[in-house]
Amino acid sequence: MRQLRPAVVAVSAVVALVAVAAAPAPAAAQALEAFEWRTVLFGQGGHGYQSQDGADGEPGSQQAIIVEPLLWARLRQTPTLVHEAAVEVDIVSAASPDAIDATTSASRMNESVALDVTHRWAHDHHGEVQGRWGFHAEEPLRSWFWGAGYVRKLADDNFTLTVNGVISMDWFDSYGPYGDRPGLKQRHAYNGNLSVSQVLSPTTILDAAYGATFQAGLLETTWNAVPMVGGGVAREKFPGTRLRQAATVRVSQHLPRSHTTVKASYRIYHDDFDLDAHTVQLFGYQYVTPWLYARLGYRVHHQDGASFYMDVFPDAPTGYRTSDSDLAPFTAHEVTAKLALLADRAPFAVLGRANLDVVLGHYRRSNDLSITWGALSLGYKF
């Protein structure tokens, strides 16, 4: 597949958003209700055995700079029909250089674009039907997805039940670690989710969710290197199917006297690659003024690795194999800090109904990967 160019990506993104906003409807009923723009800059460093940007048999560089602009908008077509669209662009310097990158630098810079559209129809005051579709395109891959969902609110909106599902289909060039290119391959995924939200008190909410995803097709990242003891690399090899399951519980508590909010969540994950994971996330919010709050976050993630992961394999391995550091056993710690300004609550009217926020974060994995990022966002409600 041809590489996307930044201008093509940008134009495609804008055209897609305008197309959604221009969906046929009575002109008088249409209104842009809200939009949000965010740009995130990531700086990534570290090493992984799947990368060929290093000495033979040693982990290669995963150094990358990523610029990620995101745009989101909500359009009300009728009193009961709402459309939301998100456009996401990534401009990435290659994070895990492959044979082609190492010899020619032909794809040292990749661009991707994704569109995610959700249509929401409220059939009464308590129920909402959702439809969702979108696509993702980057240098070796094209992907489409379609989904549907239903939201039901009960007991004076104290209890909310959400059920949804998504099907995604990927087509990609399966070029290998030596630059060989066997041709176009496919994989597909079927995802189902059930979530509930329960109000426990005027200041407390409990959320719980369960999701399962079944994947089939060529699941490996075909250009990932699998180093061998005697030198050289083999091709990554995965089973043809994968069932992934995850469950999350979260408690959110507001403390009115101190204008503080705390959120705590726990997530457990299991899949049939024998990869198990546990994730705990904590957020603390503190209002400085009624229109300005600060948030501190901490997240710890531990996973025990896929059963067929090894840093370096014996020569000519025959079974399932990967040296992808993302599938290794590791523990990751993340800290974030956010400052958000809610201009619609502010005593000054310069910014109207805008929201501004700035977020800084640092993520560090125990197997030699770290990322520092910063984000700036502007939102507006009409």
């Binding site: 909106d157 597909h188 992934r244 992808d324 993302d326």
Partner: protein, 67 residues
């Protein structure tokens, strides 16, 4: 565990009327503070952790990183 928590929550709490739900609608109490921040954080984790996704969002498809 989630089922037990949900069942106990349903039976243990009284309904909070809408006119007493002001704190619950505060921006800091919402499940999603910002749709773009959610997307950026989710992608950061799902692209770098083999155990990403699978809860509320599809995992494994739609990305050339493939993990």
């Amino acid at each position: 565990m989630i089922g037990l928590l949900g069942a106990s929550a349903l039976t243990a709490c009284r309904i909070v009327p809408k006119n007493r739900q002001g704190y619950l609608n505060d921006p800091t109490m919402r499940a999603s503070e910002s749709p773009t921040e959610d997307r950026a954080r989710r992608k950061l984790h799902t692209a770098r952790e083999g155990a990403g996704g699978g809860d509320g969002e599809p995992a494994g498809g739609g990305c050339a990183c493939g993990n």
